[in-house]
Symmetry: C3
Subunit: 151 residues, 3 copies
């Protein structure tokens, strides 16, 4: 549990301190990353607000964000709960971790932007813990068009 | 501390994923559960917004919620802090744990609904950690009439 | 990591339960405590909203707060993330820990007041973990005039 918590702390810090170029390295090369919401997920709809199935796609996304410059006007602050571990062995773990994310605009306005949970599958690769899969399931269905930074 | 954190992660997930029927099983048969606020608690007033002294009463509460269907229009998202352990031995522990709870309405509107701390007494029963007592002390005095789901 | 988490849990509880007189004892005698915001910090500006370089200054601050009685009308609720440990040995540790702080007014109104991260340096003194340095870097630049309680 402590390893997952340390991983999640590093993951959140990368996003919240605007070191987005380091974010794809949290994932395996062939990974699955998706932002969706709870209704979509319960109905088994595969599509999400954001979707990627390789580290290269995550890198593309960050490059696009940097080019669009949207991200400059806002910051995120992630607060993550304790992972609820569903299964774990020496090489992998499945866990569910709640999140609250605040968004801080350039004007200083702060709002509770997104809440939800991560459905995660972690693997050990060459002694490093990596995400083979992270599905960020948002509780609300209405933040879609505002998604700029990764959750 | 890790055991309490894992317990709390499971507890929060049960409520936030709408598996409310599993919630009473977090408690001992003769338990004490109460939602109150900090002013009431400081004045030693025993009454709270919600009050139960057995697992059966908690089961009744969930059944009533399901019947009233109030819960369908809203979800909670709990974020719990690290337990501050006041005392612990092999069979029991007393701890104080801060919480923030967001409420997500069917419309998607998200608000910081309740903040406060749990005053908890845990016991080990047949190798399982259970709550003998959980008093959810809210920081604000004005959310009372909105309480539907457990904290 | 668990030691830092336990320390932070106690630190937050001291502030949130209005035991402010115990707050300076979280620090070494010659400490550095500062509240600032991310833009100031990135530009290397030393000044902050709040600034102290000894435990005695922290004690003075609490005494002033008590005299001004400002604090009576509001409470804070800290939720702290997992510390991201940058370096650690047997005697000290540097860590970065995210926070969300809600403010609860006497009227019951609750708002997400401040988000950010602590840049911390911990030391062991006579077997006790203490803060030699805590810089609370807020994400937003506009809460300055409202700062009353410590972060």
């Amino acid at each position: 549990m402590l390893q997952l918590m340390a991983f999640n702390a590093a993951y959140a810090q990368i996003i919240d301190s605007d070191e987005l170029e380091r974010w794809p390295a949290c994932f395996t090369e062939h990974c699955h990353y998706r932002i969706t919401h709870v209704e979509n997920e319960q109905e088994g709809l595969p599509a999400g607000v954001v979707w990627a199935d390789s580290r290269a796609m995550l890198e593309d996304r960050i490059a696009a964000l940097r080019e669009a410059n949207i991200y400059e006007r806002q910051r995120y602050r992630h607060l993550l709960g304790t992972p609820h571990i569903e299964s774990a062995d020496a090489h992998s773990a499945s866990a569910c971790t709640p999140f609250m994310v605040a968004r801080i605009m350039g004007t200083g306005e702060t709002m509770l932007f997104a809440t939800g949970h991560y459905n995660d599958r972690f693997v050990m690769e060459a002694g490093r813990l990596l995400l083979a899969e992270r599905v960020a399931v948002c509780d609300s269905t209405v933040t879609d068009t505002l998604m700029a930074l990764p959750l």
